[in-house]
Structure formats: C-alpha cells, structure tokens
Amino acid sequence: MNIYTQTLKRDLRIAIRNPSSVMNPLLFFVISISLFPLAISPESSTLSQIAAGIIWVASMLSVLLSLNTLFHNDFENGVLEQMAISHYSLPLLILSKIISHWILTGIPIILLSPLLGVILFLDTDSIIILMLTLLLATPSLSLIGSIGASLIVGIKNSGMLLSLLILPLYIPILIFAASAVSQAQFGLNIDLQIYLLAAILVISLMTVPFISAISLKISLE
C-alpha cells in the first residue's frame, strides 16, 4: 500500500474512532433543513420552490463547519511536520487528506439529500439533479476549503476568519448548483451549469493541492 492510500486510510480510521467530529456537521445539515418546513410553511408549493437553495446553503455551511478538522489535529500533534519533510509529494499527501474529508462529509451529504429533498417536496427528477450537482460540487467544496484550512491552521479560534476567506470562493458553486436544480424543476436545460461545476472541479483538482501545500509550509514556519 503506498503512502497516499495509507494517509487516506489513516484519516478515515481516526474519524471512525472519533465520530463526533464527523457527525456534528452532518447533524447540522439535517437539523437545519428539517426546521425550514416548521419556520416558513408546510405548503408543498412554497417549499419545493426554495428547496434547492435551502439544501445547497446547508451543504455549504456544513462543509465549512467540518473544515477546521482537516489539518488542525495533525498540525497540533506534529504529523504535518513529518509530512512536510517527507520526500513524498506534499500536494499529493494533502490531496489524500482532502479525499478522506470528502468521503466523510461530501458522500454522507449526497446520500442524505434524497431524504431531505422529499421533506421539502422536490420531485424525483429534481432530486436526481440535486444529487448530481452535489456529486460534482462537494469535492470542489472540500478542495477549495482546504486552502482556507491550511492558511489558518496555526491560528487559534479562527472559525470566523475561515468563513470570511472561503465563503466568497464558494459563491459561484452555490449559484450554479442551486440554479441547476431550480431550472430542472421547470424542465429547462441545465447543461451549462453542469459543465461549469465540472470545470470548477477539474481546475480545483489540478491547482488546489499545490496552493494548500504552499500555505501549509508557510503555516509550519
């Protein structure tokens, strides 16, 4: 097993043994969405109109909540130092950590979304589009979030700073993804939004690990 798979496996193992760090953002995701019918209206026509926006904002915020755990513990205990001086590629080691973050936050969000879509009266076709946008965009959320997480890793109580750094970068994803689901509800073409989300994912995948590696090296100094 190579070191990149080992890193992924290690992060998943740590998360399984410390489930609260993974469960908190997911609970936030489910609870915040399930409160909307109580707060706004239980009417199916009202809820289905805003469902895409609600689910997408909640996904974005729950990913944001989970970003603090991406590098923080390994920074505190010195494992990141050992990764940084290893002769293996630091960007690829970081990519392994980002993939494990996506497995622990992105995939559960994708799997929970049909249930929450039903609660908000989304039709089956729109739920499929919602899952497709989440599948394309949640990896981008983890990737882009890692830039902020690596920049603030050495700073205490930096949750607010992380939000300020990362939220503006999440906005295009939010706009394209939510509009794709809304347009699908009216039977309109959503190719443009899907291509743009795919393009953001490819660009993030190719650039973010290198940017995060540089940020981490700066934070470790």
Binding site: I14, E76, N77, G78, V79, E81, Q82, A84, S86, L220
Partner: protein, 200 residues
C-alpha cells in the same frame, strides 16, 4: 562518506536575530550536540536543517544535495518537540504511518522496534493512554528502523527515564559507528563518546 555542510547561516524570528554567520561541517560518524540558553535558536537551527524553516540566508547541503531536494529529505530523520502521534491510533498504527512517510517497513520489524524501545505489550494501546515518556519512546522507536544517514533530534531525552536515555544514547552511538551523522539538542549531560559541541 556523508557530509553536512552549513555555510553562513542566518536565522531571524520576528525582530530577533537568533544567529548569523553560522558555519560548520559534520562528517560521517560525527555526533554534534547543540547547546545554548532558551531562545538561542537550537530548535530553529534543527528546523532549518530539516527543511521546515527557511533561513534568512545561508546554504545547507548534505552529500551535495540542497535542502529542498527530495534526495536531501530521503537522508534525514527529524524528531521535533511534538510527538507526531495521533491519540486515536495505536502505538503500532502511529509508528507504521510515520515510518511509511520515509520508507516501507515490514510489520514484524515495527513490532520488534516497539519491544526494543521498552514498550512490550503496548503495541495495540491507543496513544492517548500512554504517559509522556512512553509517547516519546514511540517516535524514538523509529530510530531502530530508520535508514536515514542524518538524524536531527530536538531534545530527544525529554520525558525519558534513565533506562530510556541509555537506549537512545546507545542508538546514537551505533548510528555514529555505522557512519551516520547525528545532530541533537539537549540541556542534559550526555555520556556519548566523541561528541562535538556547538554553542549557540
């Protein structure tokens, strides 16, 4: 024959210049002990040699490889102040991952190293359950397995009992006898033979 060359190294932290014009060489079999008062730059020097911190100016090479090359990084084993252990993982899992960052080590050898460092029966224990000295021993067990020629050890004897110190000193001596280079910082007296002292 291995050779570490440090030329005209300068280190600044904030507004404080920790050291400047620092030059020294360490050849095969050399043991270099870095001493100095708190805040004199011992840890910063080791971090520069490990490639973690960038110096203000100066050159560091090991066997003619520059500090940022992967060849240089292949040759070093660095132990910092932090233990590099995850509390959710067992002793064996932690050591396996840390050693994998350098080279692939067979599980049997990892278990042998854990026994040799005096942690018999602790291989499956979570690191959160260990004492400070035992945690230090886990990462120091890596010294039994490391094939790196240059060891950079920051306060390796911290939290260790007298038996632990004897084991580590023996390991450093063996590494030196086998042609390796060891640079370490400590505030404690050390009984290592042929050690040179660099005062910061």
């Amino acid at each position: 024959m291995s050779k570490l060359i440090v030329k005209d190294l300068c280190c600044q932290r904030g507004y404080n210049q920790l050291f400047s014009g620092l030059s020294f060489e360490a050849n095969s079999s050399n043991i270099l002990r870095i001493t100095g008062p708190n805040g004199s730059g011992k840890t910063s020097l080791l971090k520069i040699l490990a490639g973690l911190n960038a110096p203000e100016h100066g050159i560091v090479t090991f066997d003619e490889f520059g500090i940022n090359s992967s060849e240089y990084q292949k040759h070093i084993f660095y132990l910092g102040h932090s233990q590099a252990l995850s509390s959710e993982l067992s002793v064996l899992e932690n050591l396996e991952f840390l050693m994998c960052l350098n080279e692939n080590i067979k599980k049997q050898l990892l278990e042998n190293a854990i026994n040799k460092i005096g942690l018999n029966g602790y291989k499956d224990e979570y690191c959160s359950k260990l004492s400070a000295g035992q945690k230090r021993r886990v990462i120091l067990a890596g010294l039994f397995l490391s094939k790196a020629k240059l060891w950079l050890l920051d306060e390796p004897f911290t939290a260790l009992d007298s038996d632990g110190i004897i084991i580590i000193e023996k390991l450093i001596q063996e590494h030196s006898d086998n042609g390796g280079v060891c640079i370490f910082t400590t505030h404690q007296d050390s009984s290592l033979k042929n050690q040179e002292v660099l005062e910061l």
